[in-house]
Symmetry: C2
Subunit: 140 residues, 2 copies
Amino acid sequence: MSDEAIFRLDHRLASDTTTVGVLVLSRVLLMNDSRYPWIILVPQRAGLVEWSDLGVADRHLLLDEAVVVGEVISRLWEVDKINTASLGNMVAQLHVHIIGRRHGDPAWPGPVWGRGEALPYEPVAQSSLVATLRKELGCL
Amino acid sequence: MSDEAIFRLDHRLASDTTTVGVLVLSRVLLMNDSRYPWIILVPQRAGLVEWSDLGVADRHLLLDEAVVVGEVISRLWEVDKINTASLGNMVAQLHVHIIGRRHGDPAWPGPVWGRGEALPYEPVAQSSLVATLRKELGCL
């Protein structure tokens, strides 16, 4: 296997998040911003940028994993809407944001990106949340 | 069939776009904003808000249709990135944005929503673009 074929998490995604675990296809990351329930899925395949870079089966799997994440967010938090998005303008590596939105949250009804400063979790709260998410998602 | 089960396009989506045609599942809309190649897919089922409201087969089909739209955008325009997103904070009816982004476009590298005023197409250019999109997408 050549170096190019090894999955590596983009350094910016790594620095903005904490790892929850892995699903069949995706690494599950919790955005370190307690203003929103905000999870990022990164399919663990090298060289992906667009959805069209995934084969059909993996594409469907990534969507299924995103739907499960959205359902878990809706169970754990009171949210009014799930935002699901892959933008990739800042970080090219294919990743999917799943964000629970509430009427009156700091960016409502606009999108969350680039709005104000992230409000990091307290370490204890973050650890507890990660443990809960791992359990709810059945993450490895 | 009850009234509630009839698909109706949200009036705001209708007023911001022009219809390109229909795919197997989705109505294809061209956002009336020439600043970006910007297409919206609306699955033609009543009462949908979240991806999780779709059955698995329809969910996969909606994603496949979104991927095809992204590929057509990439063929017709010079774009650096495809943004794919379902937010639904303004319009609850489930819809998927597929937007071709370019380095240096008016919102780059931020998201497009809520940035400046839409720049409507000239009618002739819009008609021509709709015809091209219908052909490329194989729309009815």
